[in-house]
């Protein structure tokens, strides 16, 4: 091992070989268990409508789907570096579930059957609406996956102690290809099981680390915070909001924008919505949201302790200088308290998290594209299964490579921030349409298309012309400046715009959608009468 690397490495003089062996061993074990669990007994097909999962199981899987690398690595890092401002991600991610519980989950389960497009096209002209649903699903998925890929790259770069930009790009590419390969080869069967297994592992490890940290400081959180402030250049400034977003009026507005995207985005995430179809009926869908909410509350409270704990024990400077930057706070903390073994364990859990989320996302997007777009729009519902499967596979590959490319471009950014962008896209493209179609009788096909394309388009355009893409030091293209939109998260503008587009689009056409269909939807969404595969 060369001495220079040894000096720089935040992991002391541990050989990367040990890190990687513990890490790889655990990943393989997880996949093996998931594979065994899924191949014995009933077929646990992810998309089997009227699925066989109970509310509790699905709740665990839901939290597994939702607690991505962003929640774990991203938030812990954001808190360790920026203090209180990082905690706001946790709160937004959690409160958002009330939208699902109160407005979406049960109605969606009762009305649709397979994809988000089922519900959106229920009382509209099927083909254009399904096409729009597939397009927005693709964009949300890719944006979400970019963050996951970047997280996976950071993690492996930390374990291998790779610092050069090219080296990290290579790591992201290799890790990404492995993930796409896994999805293509037959990870389908085990995805839900990986999801549950990983959720349990993640919750167990964060709870244990939290207990350990609190115990170390005599169960006095205030003392832990004190030590964190000593090791953070912000000092006690990290206890209050404003460290990251408090600079001026614009950054404050950006913060409000991000918060809106977080709370309104969850109900528009296709891979989360899809989970409501894996339970037998709307009551189980409700139960699964409740389970997920409790589990996530526990998790996000732990991230608060872990974030401050990482600042206290590892120190903000070390975190910022590590390969992977902010995103490496949690693994570094694990190394600090449990050495190589715990580092391997935590990294493996984080990696399994990313793998499971990527698999779920790829599955959702490719299924939606093949089913909604290819089979129903291009082939008018007459596609043969073989070609549909082929289209799904090709879609999975295209999405995978787009995400890898994106992951390389955004390398170094906090992944919770990146996921915030995916949430903004989801909220802008899907939420308004979903709410209107469920609750507004006059809403019609034209309104649906305006809301989806208008919301999606304005969100993507604003992002393109924001500091995320150009004009500042940590932009994707730092050397050029074509930015004129000052907020790094467009949610505050693009979400209201999508609602506005929906209203305008609706009144452009004189007629509302078929009122009989609205009656059907009203009855069905509330009671499940007439819904296929609803089992009580």
């Amino acid at each position: 091992m060369n001495t220079l690397a040894q000096q720089q490495s935040p992991l002391g003089d541990t050989s990367p070989v040990v890190n990687i062996s513990v890490f790889a061993g655990l990943i393989l074990l997880t996949l093996l268990i998931a594979y065994r669990a899924s191949s014995s007994g009933n077929t646990s097909d992810y998309f089997a409508a009227g699925g066989t999962f109970s509310g509790a199981q699905n709740g665990v899987a839901l939290s597994g789907d939702f607690l991505s690398a962003a929640s774990f690595l991203g938030i812990a890092g954001a808190i360790a570096v920026h203090g209180y401002d990082g905690f706001l991600y946790s709160i937004g991610f959690l409160v958002a579930w009330l939208v699902n519980l109160l407005l979406v989950a049960e109605r969606l389960r009762n009305t649709g059957r397979f994809t988000m497009g089922d519900v959106l096209s229920f009382r509209m002209r099927r083909r254009p609406v399904r096409a729009a649903a597939a397009v927005s699903t693709l964009f949300v998925t890719i944006a979400y996956m970019v963050a996951q890929m970047a997280g996976a790259g950071d993690l492996v770069a930390l374990l291998l102690d790779i610092r050069s930009g090219t080296g990290q790009a290579l790591v992201i590419a290799v890790v990404g290809v492995v993930m796409v390969f896994y999805v293509l080869i037959g990870g389908m069967k085990g995805t839900t099981w990986v999801q549950m297994l990983k959720a349990v592992m993640l919750l167990l490890s964060v709870s244990l680390i939290t207990l350990f940290l609190l115990g170390k400081f005599g169960f006095n959180f205030s003392d832990l915070m004190h030590r964190a402030a000593e090791n953070n250049p912000l000092g006690e400034g990290m206890f209050a909001p404003g460290a990251q977003y408090g600079e001026n009026a614009l950054t404050k507005l950006d913060f409000v924008s991000l918060s809106m995207a977080l709370v309104l985005g969850v109900a528009g995430l296709p891979h989360v919505l899809m989970r409501f179809y894996t339970v037998p009926n709307s009551r189980e869908a409700r139960r699964s949201v409740v389970w997920a909410t409790w589990l996530m509350s526990l998790f996000y409270l732990c991230t608060l302790v872990i974030g401050f704990g990482a600042a206290a024990l590892v120190g903000t400077e070390t975190i910022n200088n590590a390969p992977g930057g902010e995103n490496s706070a949690a693994p570094l903390l694990a190394y600090e308290i449990g050495g190589t073994v715990l580092l391997g364990v935590i990294s493996a859990v984080a990696f399994a998290t990313i793998l499971a989320v990527v698999a779920g996302l790829t599955l959702t997007a490719s299924a939606s594209f093949a089913h909604d777009f290819y089979a129903n729009v291009m082939r008018g519902g007459k596609a043969d299964p073989t070609s549909e499967v082929r289209v799904a596979r090709i879609t999975a590959m295209v999405i995978g490579f787009a995400a890898i490319l994106g992951g390389i471009l955004v390398n170094g950014q906090n992944i919770a921030f990146l996921v915030g962008l995916a949430f903004a896209i989801a909220a802008s493209a899907n939420l308004s349409t979903l709410v209107f179609t469920l609750f507004w009788k006059r809403f019609n096909t034209s309104g649906t298309l305006w809301a989806m394309y208008g919301g999606l388009g304005s969100c993507l355009l604003l992002m393109l012309f924001s500091p995320v893409f150009s004009g500042s030091a940590d932009s994707i293209f730092p050397s050029v400046d074509f930015s004129f939109f000052p907020l790094s998260n467009p949610g505050l503008v693009s979400i209201p715009m999508s609602f506005l587009f929906g209203v305008i689009g609706t009144f452009v056409r004189p007629r509302s959608a078929d009122p009989e269909d609205f009656d059907a939807m009203k009855v069905r969404s509330l009671t499940g009468i007439g819904a296929r595969d609803v089992v009580y």
Binding site: L98, F122, F255, R286, I529
Partner: protein, 139 residues
Amino acid sequence: MSNTTPPPLRARYGERSEKTHASFGGIEKSAALGAKTGPDFAGIAGSAEFDELRARLKRFVLPMTVLFLALYLGYVLLAAYAPEFMAEPVLGNINVGLLFGVGQFVSTLLITTLYVKFAERRVDPEVDKLRETAGGGQR
């Protein structure tokens, strides 16, 4: 009571897709929706029971949605525009902002619990009755 007699539901509840062909993520072509056939939706939608159920649900869901969004927005605005207030220490290093943040957890879990209680007591039994009237779905 609904003034139209609902037609009997077809045996569509027993209809489960058999998947024997190759599938990727469970994609199959039988997922088309059949909204035009089936139960008498207009009849149910026009019935007094259904109206009452919808109104009852709305009376709970609407205020709760407004409440949690207002709480969240209020919290976000305080964090953005009143950081000094949020930094006010309460107990050691634990300040107002931290307590409010944890308060969002508490209010989320509280609203979740309230909704579940409400739905199980006031909504589910009514839905069961409606389903029975519609003549199907109870397996």
